[in-house]
């Protein structure tokens, strides 16, 4: 079996004159945890959308588990074992938290096993206390977690997380990092984040996007000390008043 989970070659997408993603060669091994960082508008979310079939590439190709996803519908790509948490949470607002998770668990489980799987996920993500709440009435941060639960419940081989820690307090960020590490026991992940604390907590290899292309790809320490990365992305550290 091929150990390569994701492989893109010369991948690019343009809108009018905007090259949101521009000839990206990207490889991800099974079970890997990769962080993706880069300036606002660098093309990270667009890259995610290309991976899950929401955008059709203008150039290049995407292979998942050695299989080209060209022409596949997004549900077919999902069935290849891909789960995505979008930047703006995409959940079932009118349903309860439990129903949200059940729908996702039931896709990969028989109806008997689904109940157990739901319980497991709800415990892991700590959703049990709000199991009966309608998701539309949750706060922004709570909805992020629900979405994480939905994604984990399909037991994917690869999870794409677009800014999972956005809008969370430090303690919650830590909790999310633990979750991600736990999830990484079972599957590969690609995580986009702007929160460097968070990146340091979880990262092994980091890929930096800039203007639609890969700027650097290396271990987290090297990347965060790279001058170019500091230049386009990190800037100077905040001076605290304290």
């Amino acid at each position: 079996m091929n150990s390569l989970l994701v492989e893109t070659q010369g991948l690019g997408v343009s809108f009018g004159g905007v090259h949101a993603v521009n000839s990206v060669d990207f490889r991800l091994e099974r079970g890997e945890l990769r962080c993706l960082i880069g300036p606002n508008g660098a093309g990270k979310s667009s890259f995610f959308r290309l991976l899950c079939g929401q955008y059709k590439p203008t150039r290049g190709s995407v292979k998942i588990k050695g299989k080209s996803i060209d022409g596949l519908q997004s549900y077919q790509i999902a069935r290849l074992g891909l789960g995505i948490k979008t930047q703006v949470p995409s959940v079932f607002d009118g349903l309860s938290v439990e129903e949200n998770i059940w729908l996702s668990a039931r896709r990969v489980n028989s109806s008997r096993e689904a109940a157990t799987a739901v319980k497991e996920v709800m415990d892991t993500v700590r959703l049990s206390p709000i199991a009966g709440n309608q998701v539309g009435a949750l706060s922004h941060g709570q909805r992020q977690w629900v979405e994480l639960g939905i994604v984990m419940a399909t037991r994917p081989d690869l999870i794409l997380l677009d800014e999972p820690a956005a809008g969370m307090s430090d303690e919650e960020v830590k909790r999310t990092a633990e979750l991600i590490k736990a999830a990484n026991q079972k599957c590969a992940l690609i995580v986009v984040e702007h929160d460097m604390e968070f990146i340091r907590m979880i990262a092994k290899t980091v890929t930096v996007f800039n203007r639609g292309t890969v700027l650097v790809e290396d271990t987290v320490d090297i990347v965060l000390n790279d001058e170019r990365v500091k230049d386009v992305y990190l800037g100077k550290d905040l001076e605290m008043k304290g």
């Binding site: 300036p39 606002n40 009435a137 990190l234 605290m240």
Partner: protein, 230 residues
């Protein structure tokens, strides 16, 4: 300039805020901190009038605004950068900014271009529909749009969410500059402690719809763990 007395509010039958007291004085930068779902955004919405307070009173510059319509409060000089940005997706970036300056029909273009000076990145996208900007670009646009309305009091709801580190520090600089030149008052909801630390004069902590703590920024930063477990 903003005086909130024992405010209660919520969504329908669901009560979220349970007696908030808060005063901001002119030119002050105040941080508001708390876990997810504690009611920070709800407080912002209540101040601006999206939600009507079921009890208590709000006054702004000495004027009682408790029952006032949202647009009138905005006209008095309260501006909001909402969580989730609320960009007009089908208006161009420039039109989004002009919407922000809509009450100045005379010197609207000047206002817009003076704000744009603080946001050089947006200059490149003036004709692009707002909805197509990346998440972080939209956040900058929302901030710029709010400034175009020359607010006296700005409500900032998690502005760093999704923003790259270098822009966050630019944002801090920008806000300090604007504070100096206009005497802006700021109420800032944030989870990013570094950001709060570099902007706020004092920090309030919210828990389950009540303010449980107030401290200087220094104490806040030193006692992070105490707060986290609060």
């Amino acid at each position: 300039m903003l005086d909130i007395k024992d405010i209660h509010s919520g969504y329908g039958d669901i009560r979220i805020l349970r007696g908030i007291n808060l005063s901001l004085s002119q030119g002050e930068f105040v941080g508001l901190w708390g876990h997810n779902g504690m009611g920070k955004s709800t407080l912002m919405r209540t101040i601006l009038g999206y939600l009507t307070a079921t009890a208590g009173s709000i006054s702004f510059e000495g004027q009682d605004i408790t029952g006032m319509a949202t647009f009138r409060r905005a006209q008095l000089g309260i501006g909001l950068v909402p969580q989730g940005r609320a960009i007009f997706p089908h208006l161009s970036v420039l039109d989004n900014l002009r919407m922000g300056a809509v009450s100045f029909s005379q010197d609207r273009d000047e206002t817009v271009s003076s704000v744009l000076k603080h946001f050089p990145r947006l200059n490149a996208y003036l004709d692009r529909p707002g909805g197509l900007l990346s998440g972080g670009e939209q956040q900058l646009l929302a901030l710029a749009r709010c400034l175009c309305g020359k607010p006296k009091l700005m409500l900032l709801d998690e502005p760093t969410e999704g923003i790259q580190p270098s822009i966050i520090s630019e944002m801090v600089d920008t806000l300090h500059r604007i504070r100096e030149s206009t005497g802006l008052t700021l109420l800032l909801v944030e989870q990013n402690q570094a950001f709060i630390g570099s902007l706020a004069d004092r920090v309030l902590t919210m828990q389950k719809g009540v303010l449980v703590n107030e401290s200087s920024t220094r104490d806040f930063l030193n006692n992070t763990h105490a707060f986290a477990s609060a």
